[in-house]
Symmetry: C2
Subunit: 252 residues, 2 copies
């Protein structure tokens, strides 16, 4: 039985990541969330706040994947161009979403200045879009076709992911089992290769590290098939132990 | 005088980032290092350990930029396929580099097993490549044309960047000045837009945050021209103060 694999891509929009000023936290956050939904993150692109670059990434990745997510560039300032860029990518007009306008009116009712023209920018969406609730601040996220536009500020992104939980069709979540050895990965590369070859329903990743003055590596076995995963993990553990490497369950 | 802008792209190779298991630290590290070299990071792609995906990203990005960097996938295990993928992208053979072989022979001389076949994989390079010194562990990085293949483990990547410091031609570093306000960015979006329009040699980024129970935003002005940067920063500070927003130099 060959299982349908659901994939997603993420476009991180923001000069602040490319300049090194801000350390991205959304890649890991979106990746972990997708795992739970049974959707595999297939590719990430970090692009500048330039319409051409956003359009290019959006159009390639939305066609190649079941879902596309973007983070960043949906605020009220002049450098927030994600809505315009995605509308251009899809050949859609930008319109003010009445429900988003109502949300912003309510949110800004008791704030100085009220719903100014700049703030109203956050109600602009590609025509036909739905909203993604934002329980952290006024401006909602946006869903248009298979594209989900989310905020760039990580705790607001997190709230939008929460709102989307359970709403996207996914497959069986990719299960993983980790074990670690205080061994240079080059010493066990042959074992890993042989076990990977014998278990085609599983992938084995090897992640070396240097810690407490010693080298080691964690081995992560991934599969959608729990039985295949358990088999593969047993064989790898046995092969490592047989070669004199103590395998620590759960990783180091 | 229009200045030549040097650009680079980064391809992060690794299922461990896409699975959310490992939080990437190389994007920020490479971005910061490039700033100092006077090279602008124009795009980042995170791709899976799959040859087709690596080839696609490498070929598009190496042509579009002055420099291309990759992190990850140059170790000794079966999932380390960066060298083969880059050689395929360039239409080159993979060969054992004699100097890399000598380095590994020396490094493994006193280690159990010595230079095994798996360890010798780390001496494989696309034909014609040079080595990037690695002072942290045995396996060197690789330079072929405008492409720089580096390790994925962040402290080893850092050592390779150190070794490359000053060896790549760059332009004037992008200078930046930051100021912050305890103000919602939507309140000052009009000011930002007007100042950005009046200072075309500068870009202004607005980065909102939520901290200590309050909203605020940092504004980062970037330019290669120090005088233009100072002018723009002065105008923005004045405009913010005039509108009653206290601008904190250096950001919040």
């Amino acid at each position: 039985m060959s299982e349908r694999i659901w994939t997603a891509a993420l476009v991180v929009i923001g000069d602040e990541i490319l300049s090194g000023r801000t350390h991205d936290r959304n890649i890991a956050q979106v990746a972990e969330w997708l795992q739970v939904q049974g959707i595999r993150l297939a590719e990430v692109r970090v692009v500048a706040d330039e319409q051409d670059r956003i359009v290019e990434a959006v159009n390639i990745l939305r066609e190649r994947n079941d879902y596309l997510f973007t983070t960043g560039g949906i605020g009220p300032t002049h450098d927030d161009i994600t809505v315009d860029a995605v509308a251009a990518a899809l050949g859609l007009e930008v319109v003010v979403h009445p429900e988003a306008r109502a949300l912003l009116e309510k949110y800004y009712a008791d704030k100085p200045g009220g719903l100014t023209e700049d703030r109203l920018r956050m109600a602009r969406v590609p025509a036909g879009a739905q909203l993604i609730p934002n329980r952290m601040s006024g401006a909602p996220g946006i869903k248009i076709g298979n594209i989900h536009l989310m905020a760039g500020v990580p705790h607001i992104t997190a709230g939008m992911l929460d709102a989307l939980t359970g709403t996207l069709e996914g497959g069986a979540p990719l299960k993983a089992e980790t074990m670690g050895c205080w061994t240079a990965e080059s010493e066990v590369a042959g074992i890993l290769r042989a076990v990977a070859k014998a278990h085609e329903a599983c992938q084995i990743g090897s992640y070396p590290f240097f810690r407490e003055g010693k080298v080691g590596a964690n081995f992560v076995i991934r599969s959608t098939d729990a039985a295949a995963l358990a088999d593969c993990a047993k064989d790898l553990r046995d092969a490592l132990e047989e070669a004199g490497h103590s395998a620590i369950a759960g990783g180091i």
